[in-house]
């Protein structure tokens, strides 16, 4: 029977480590002693050890949601019987079940952003589709669901892959936006129009503008001011590009219309950013460090 030199407690016979601090016992075997029958068993090999899978609060919420869903469905069925053919319960029942599944998904699936967002997106698509199709033709839900898919591709998909492959996720998201613009245009009927002549070129310019910021974030250390200014710059270029390409589509002789002031702002910001990047004095003048 040895003592732990750190905690000062006496250890049970045969113990080679202190259970309190995991310190290894430095003592001759005679002092440590032979391990006897363990005071407390800890064997789980004897058959499957059964225990509940969910903790208390989660289980409570799940039961409550299911109870309310069951009550709602029963009420709807009774109402349908009472009212006869004038009331079809199927749409509201579908909504109850889908609404309940929103809550249940949050409790059942792994509580990570990717899992939750994916499930919520999928359920929302089904829900919108069901509501839309109740008059037996697909209408507005196509636009909404396309947007949800786009959201998933931009905001969820890059985080489902491993970190070192994330760049492909970003590329995919970038392409997805372009495809989305084309698809929305196509859904509106007729041939592709505004998407090719205005939206895609504007999107391209915005991408190029933001890639400068991304490169700086990746390889340098832009300050908060830098980042905010760069973001404003990206927006400015986007606005200017939209105006520019719109004027080209309507074959206007003017180079820019209402966005010329934005263009001037963009140029000013560019000059500021360049100076800030190259001249230490400018950088110091605008510094705002506290420590």
């Amino acid at each position: 029977m040895a003592y732990c030199v750190r905690c000062g407690v006496k250890l049970e016979s045969g113990a080679t480590e202190c259970p309190l601090c995991s310190m290894e016992v430095q003592a001759p075997v005679e002092v440590i002693g032979q391990p006897g029958i363990p005071l407390f068993p800890n064997d789980n090999t004897d058959g499957p050890f059964e225990h509940p899978k969910l903790d208390k609060n989660r289980k409570g919420v799940i039961e409550l949601v299911i109870a309310f869903m069951a009550i709602a469905v029963i009420t709807l069925i009774i109402t349908a019987f009472a009212l006869g053919a004038s009331f079809s319960p199927w749409l509201p029942i579908g909504c109850v079940i889908l609404g309940g599944s929103y809550l249940l998904v949050g409790l059942f699936v792994k509580p990570t952003y990717q899992h939750l967002a994916t499930w919520f997106a999928a359920i929302t698509i089904v829900l919108l589709f069901i509501i839309d199709i109740s008059d037996r033709k697909v209408g507005w839900s196509a636009y909404a669901n396309l947007s949800i898919v786009l959201f998933w591709l931009i905001a969820v998909a890059p985080w489902t892959v491993q970190k070192r492959n994330r760049i492909y996720g970003y590329v995919l998201a970038g392409i997805a936006v372009a495809v989305y613009l084309l698809a929305i245009d196509a859904l509106a009927g007729n041939a592709l129009s505004w998407s090719v002549t205005i939206a895609l070129p504007t999107y391209g310019i915005s991408l190029v503008a933001s890639s400068f910021l991304l490169l700086r974030i990746r390889f340098g250390k832009p300050t908060i001011t830098d980042t905010v200014m760069s973001l404003i710059l990206v927006v400015c270029w986007g606005v200017v590009a939209a105006d520019f390409f719109h004027l080209r589509t309507i074959a206007s002789p003017r180079l820019l219309s209402w966005s010329s002031s934005v263009f001037i702002v963009a140029v000013c910001i560019m000059i500021f950013l360049t100076l800030n990047l190259t001249l230490r004095r400018v950088r110091h003048y605008f510094n705002n460090r506290v420590v």
Binding site: C7, V9, P19, L39, N42, N44, E50, H51, G60
Partner: protein, 434 residues
Amino acid sequence: MRNDQHSDGLLPLDNSAIIYPPTVARYNTHMFRLSMDLSVKVIPERLLTALEHVLDRFPYFAVSLHQGFYWYYFMPNHKPVAVYPDVAYPCGYLHRKRGANGYLFKVLYTSQRIAIEIFHAVTDGTGALVFLKSLVAEYLRLSGRQVGEDPQVFLPDSPMDPQEVEDSFERFYTPLKAVFGFESSAWHMPSKYGLSDNVQVISARMKIEDLKRISSVHKVTITEYLVAELLDAMQRIQEQMVGNPKRYKPVRISVPVNIRKVFGSRSLRNFTLFVVIGIDVRLGHYSFEEILDQVVHQLRGNVNVKSLSKQVSRNVAGRRHPAIRYAPNVFKRPLMKLLSDSYGDDIYSTTISNIGNVTFPEGMREVVERLDFHLSPSKTNKTSCAAIGANGYLVMNFTSIYATKTDFEREALTALVQKGIPVEVATNRNVKEQ
């Protein structure tokens, strides 16, 4: 009486038991364990016979749990009872149907130990202790030993006192118009250190003599001294784990009090209340003497008929309230799960239950070497402490769902060592794998 056993054998759960069945979940098993280490060899067949004899004397333990429309209830269980080898982690989940043939307790044995793990809805520590003592006494009698008389050892052929099965909460209920306040939430050790589905034990054994000596220096009882030690340890753990003093929360400890003596009850079902004792560490660090002051003041100030009656009435009034009484179980169940913490676990940081020194009759005293008492921890309060004394030793068992973290146990026990109390520790943790 309302809560007497009905003619068909249906037995309603007692007032403090109704919270346990619906709140069983992962990390909350509501099982507790009492074990006796003997100097004689335990023969399973003989133990089973002893159990069958004793169980006839304790019909209110030979029950199974069922779910009704409004409440859970007990029914007599006539299925064969069994004894099980004590191999698994203590206080594990017991499935109410498959776990032990419908019984809500398990009698376990090793070559030299008889243990009982029992679902808290059936009884509390005192009830289980009487059952275990009667079981071991019967086992020794079957082994041909003479066992003397003891108020806590019931003979299998003695008549059952109807008071044993009563729900004393109902008997001592007086309709009071008292204000039942909520407590704010206490500090809890965080989950981020990794939890285990098996209850991990660190057991500390010390001489009662040493504890008596040190607590008499402070003019307090052993329980009060241990409560103060644990509060102090919890205070230090919070200081270590929470960096910013602005985020400190009160540290409180729940002390179950056996109120049979206070009210004069002979019930062997649940009749325990919890006194929550705490220090508000947001006001600054408490020295050990200040803590001890608070403990004595709060514990003695709360253990009297008036204060306890208030809690009894709260328990009973809650159950009798029409909105609760007539709500279907499908709603009560989830709501109890969600609300139980704000009345229970959430308002304290840990628990210490001290059964006290257990005495044995002639013939049993020489055979019983050691007693252990284990509480199940919970998801909110990851470590609990249970103490029991016998043969001049007090054993404190820390049960925890922390897979590896033992800081609280270490903090509490090293404090005892530093004050000159020799402590002997044992564990079921796989220390090597850490």
